[in-house]
């Protein structure tokens, strides 16, 4: 931190506004508030805001101390027949680790944002694997970038300037000019306007187009489809490149829904590696949602939707959070983190929320915490599974990881007393 007139400048701050996780933000702080997030894009600036967040704890309608709210939360969860722990966003891996511990101790179900957004890719990886690369590899090596129905400018504003295609890299010394930029437009989902090559695919023909490309690569051209000419050209472009990066937006809302896209693109990428080098990398949203998959994997062996009801992890991808609440299978929910896009109504069952702005949710107990990366340090994963440190440029409410560890301890004590 360096002093500047009227405040402090905190440098090298990691932004979790989207999955790019740019770590070059300089946050100017005045009077304990964020005056400016220098270097951040509009999305990032809005994510940082002025750093003011609510800081109260509530239990059964009254404002109480954090300790009292923790007691209420522990009691509610401990008495539940079957609880759901839901991992929201804007929490550190340290918080996620404690949250999974709570689920394990409670014999609860733990799920998160991923199962209702990116399950197709997670499941495709289980069947096929994946061919990936970290963003630095794409920046330094990829001489052919295929944006698949995706223009990162919209939801990942600095992707193009930090990773690809703009930066000069070790093996692409002239930056954008060293790279071939291909846009594959899928239905209304368009790639970047300045692409060197553009291919249009009807939304309903996407899988067939990928399959046709794969068939060409496998030496079994299909013949007879209207896409043949353009796809044959694309196949030549891809195989002539030294290092291909196929980039698509894995989060919902950008591309038309297609559950088999991730598997098809993975298979395409794997096949390309028979002739050249290639990776297929999904764009992912912010708030350390990727970290939840990592933490779940190392603690339970499964990246989402884990059921501890038998006292050990079971992978239940067909019984996600939304279905469990809707069917009445769970009678209590603990939301950890910002409850963005929860696939259920929080007030459908008894509920506890611990996270940024938790007190604004209709819950039986709620504890506001800081936002990971704004008020809390720790670790978060970038969209490519690279771990980054979080800094805490401004002070805030209680730290989520501490609150969750305290909750885990309370529940652990109750459970061990009983056994």
């Amino acid at each position: 931190m360096s002093q500047m007139p009227g405040g402090d400048l905190v440098e090298h701050v990691t932004c979790l506004g989207c999955g790019c996780s740019c770590d070059d933000i300089a946050v100017a702080v005045r009077d304990g508030r964020i005056a400016e997030a220098r270097g951040a894009c509009a999305l990032g600036s809005s994510w940082f805001g002025d750093g003011r967040v609510p800081a109260i704890a509530r239990a059964h309608g009254s404002i109480v101390t954090v300790d009292a709210a923790l007691d209420a939360a522990a009691t509610l969860l401990d008495q539940a027949r079957r609880a759901l722990v839901f991992l929201g966003i804007d929490i550190s891996c340290e918080t996620q680790r404690a949250a999974v511990e709570v689920a394990d101790t409670l014999h609860a179900v733990v799920d998160g944002v991923s199962s209702s957004t990116v399950a197709a890719g997670i499941l495709a990886a289980q069947r096929r694997g994946r061919v990936s690369a970290t963003l630095g590899e794409i920046r330094n090596r990829a001489d052919c970038i295929v944006f698949w129905g995706t223009d990162p400018a919209a939801r990942y504003p600095r992707y193009a300037s930090r990773y690809a295609p703009e930066p000069a890299g070790l093996f692409v010394p002239d930056g954008r000019r060293s790279r071939r930029l291909v846009s594959v437009d899928v239905g209304d989902a368009r790639g970047p306007a300045d692409a060197d090559t553009r291919i249009r695919i009807h939304a309903g023909q996407e899988l067939d187009a990928i399959a046709a490309l794969r068939a060409v690569l496998a030496g079994r051209p299909l013949g007879g489809t209207e896409l043949d000419g353009a796809l044959a050209d694309l196949a030549r472009t891809l195989t002539a490149a030294r290092y291909v990066a196929i980039v698509y937006d894995a989060e919902p809302g950008a591309l038309p829904p297609e559950p088999a896209r991730a598997e098809s693109l993975t298979a395409l990428g794997q096949q390309l590696n028979a002739v050249t080098r290639a990776c297929v990398t999904p764009l992912r949203g912010g708030g350390n949602r990727v970290g939840a998959e990592s933490v779940l994997a190392w603690q339970t062996g499964y990246p989402m939707t884990v059921d501890f009801s038998r006292g050990h992890p079971r992978f239940r991808p067909d019984d996600g959070a939304g279905a469990l609440v809707a069917s009445g299978a769970v009678d209590a929910v603990l939301v950890v983190g910002r409850a963005l896009g929860t696939p259920f109504a929080i007030d459908a069952v008894r509920s506890v929320a611990i996270g940024p702005s938790a007190s604004e949710l209709p819950c039986d107990a709620a504890i506001d915490t800081g936002v990971a990366g704004i008020h809390e340090s720790g670790t978060a994963f970038r969209m490519d599974d690279v771990p980054l440190p979080l800094r805490a440029p401004v002070p805030g409410p209680p730290v989520a990881a501490d609150v969750m560890r305290a909750l885990a301890q309370r529940i652990g004590t109750r459970r061990s007393r009983r056994s």
């Binding site: 511990e101 061919v131 190392w298 992890p313």
Partner: protein, 549 residues
């Protein structure tokens, strides 16, 4: 639990202190071994039992980013191996899942359940070090550390090209400290960078790697010298070029000769000891390789035994995994890691009906059985590549029980075994002393861990007590007692406690002038700020330097 304990009446195997099965007491106070205790100290009766230092795994993959990628694609095998929490007295126990790549908590519990108390992850991408520390924080009971991957990082390769060996050493020293690592790991020196450029095999250690002056030989020399000059407790840890290919024993021997006279550890040498190739069938190259190791005291190795059954291959050596995927059609993960290293994963099964898997199994056993110095040829399966660490008891039985080994040998495919030493009949049976060396005292010596791997006064009180059993595998799979840092973690065969763990790491000095050069590199090519690159220093003090050289 008291902080004093006298273990009485056991046959003690403490090769580092020249104790070979003598019945004597071992005294523990405040987490360490002491020479004596007052008579009223609590006693643990070990009559008729075998007492050894806690096991030390010199080479396993348990907590790297790559390991977690593997966990994410193995839902099928782990569904069949759920792990309920053990009944611990001191902490909240955690559940998990097993298979060949267990979850972190289950990894710690299962290692401790086998009597292992220290484990090193052998391959961590520098940029993923923060992930590894977090995973190790969630790996209970065992002390741990990791080796950080170098030798395919263009920054280092450019220093090699420019003949800037001092700067290369300073960079290595900085990277060790910045990542909280314990040793320098080389995987397929230069070959991973080539794989990223679509060049799929390094033919020899003198291949030009596309940058003038850079060859696998130059990379190995640079980093071996760096490790030795820095007096790191463990020398450079090398996974040679051409892993898993027929005829690769020539490359391995060339690599050893290239570092002749320099201290170096060659890992999972079983995967690098094949003759044949160039149109000739696969064959064992074990005799040739072990003859070199036996006569060159500067060389140490771990075997990387293949165990017949399920495994998961996970390595920084991405090109190898592409070949395995292409030949088996199995699911495949590749992750190219930014200007540092690679990562490849393919689940695999070594079938006894398969000719190559059978040869691999035999080659590993030959290396063990022809080794003349157990201090330098150590036990590993390259977990989970050759088999999971949970198969160590079975491996120990293969080494100690010739009748069992011969029976297993009968069952494998003999197509490629003509002329192999094992098929010709190797009668050697490892002794308990030798087992204690290849699983405890030897790893400690080669890792430069002065307070582990032995039971002399001042050592960490990491102790395993086995009840004797004619079934050697059962004996080593179910220790009666395990003590970690003076705490009884396994009692009457049951896991009972999970005391705090320690991180083993080094922080060697370097010339700050290198940082100016490195910061220019970071500004140009890195996606992470140099200021954000180093991990938070581990709680434990760094292991001191100078013990190794």
């Amino acid at each position: 639990m008291t902080d004093r304990l006298r273990i009485t009446g056991g046959a003690v195997y403490d090769p580092a202190n020249g104790v070979d099965g003598d019945v004597r007491d071992v005294c523990v106070e405040n987490g360490r071994i002491v020479a004596s205790l007052p008579d009223d100290a609590p006693r643990l009766d070990a009559h008729g039992m075998v007492v050894m230092p806690g096991g030390i795994d010199i080479h396993a993959h348990i907590a790297a980013s790559s390991v977690n990628q593997a966990r994410r694609i193995l839902s099928d095998e782990r569904t069949a191996d759920p792990a309920s929490p053990p009944a611990l007295f001191d902490t909240v126990a955690r559940s998990g899942t097993g298979g060949t790549v267990p979850t972190t908590f289950t990894t710690g519990y299962r290692y401790a359940g086998l009597g292992y108390t220290t484990v090193f992850d052998a391959a961590v991408a520098p940029v993923g070090a923060r992930d590894t520390h977090a995973q190790l924080d969630d790996t209970p009971i065992v002390d741990s550390g990791f080796f950080v991957l170098m030798g395919n990082d263009p920054y280092l390769l450019q220093q090699v090209a420019a003949g800037e060996r001092d700067r290369a050493r300073d960079y290595a020293a900085w990277l060790l400290g910045a990542t909280g690592a314990y040793a320098i790991k080389l995987v397929n020196p230069g070959g991973i960078e080539l794989w990223k450029r679509n060049v799929r095999a390094v033919k020899s250690i003198d291949d030009a790697l596309g940058i003038p002056g850079v060859t696998p030989r130059a990379i190995m020399e640079t980093l071996a010298d760096a490790a030795n000059t820095l007096a790191l407790p463990h020398p450079v840890h090398i996974h040679c070029n051409n892993l898993g290919l027929p005829g690769n024993v020539a490359t391995t021997l060339d690599s050893m000769r290239a570092l002749s006279g320099r201290r170096a550890h060659f890992t999972h040498v079983q995967f690098h000891a094949y003759a044949g190739g160039d149109g000739k069938p696969w064959a064992s190259g074990a005799k040739e390789l072990i003859a070199y190791i036996n006569t060159h005291p500067e060389v140490t190795a771990d075997v990387g035994q293949v165990m017949l059954g399920h495994a998961t291959t996970v390595t920084a050596d991405g090109a190898v995994e592409y070949l395995l995927h292409a030949s088996t059609g199995r699911r495949w993960v590749n992750v190219d890691v930014e200007l540092e290293t690679g990562c490849g994963i393919v689940p695999y099964e070594y079938r006894d009906a398969a000719a190559v898997a059978s040869l691999q199994w035999v080659v590993g056993l030959e290396l063990f059985l022809l080794s003349e110095d157990p201090w330098r040829v150590l036990l590993s399966t390259d977990h989970p590549n050759g088999g999971a660490f949970t198969s160590y008891p079975e491996l120990i039985r293969l080494l100690m029980d010739r009748a069992y080994r011969d029976e297993r040998l009968e069952a494998v495919n003999h197509k490629l075994l003509a002329g192999s030493a094992l098929a010709d009949g190797l009668s050697r049976e490892y002794t308990l002393r030798e087992i204690a060396i290849i699983t405890r005292a030897g790893p400690a010596r080669q890792l430069g861990l002065t307070s582990k791997g032995h039971l002399g006064a001042g050592a960490d009180a990491d102790i395993t007590i086995y009840a004797r059993d004619p079934d050697i595998a059962r004996m080593f799979a179910t220790p009666r007692y395990v003590i970690k840092g003076g705490v009884l973690v396994v009692e009457e065969g049951q896991l009972r406690r999970a005391p705090p763990t320690h991180r083993l790491h080094v922080r060697p000095p370097y010339d700050e002038a290198m940082m100016r050069d490195l910061s220019v590199w970071f500004d140009r090519y890195a996606t992470i700020a140099l200021a954000n690159y180093p991990v938070a220093p581990p709680r434990d003090a760094p292991v001191s330097l100078g013990a190794g050289a």
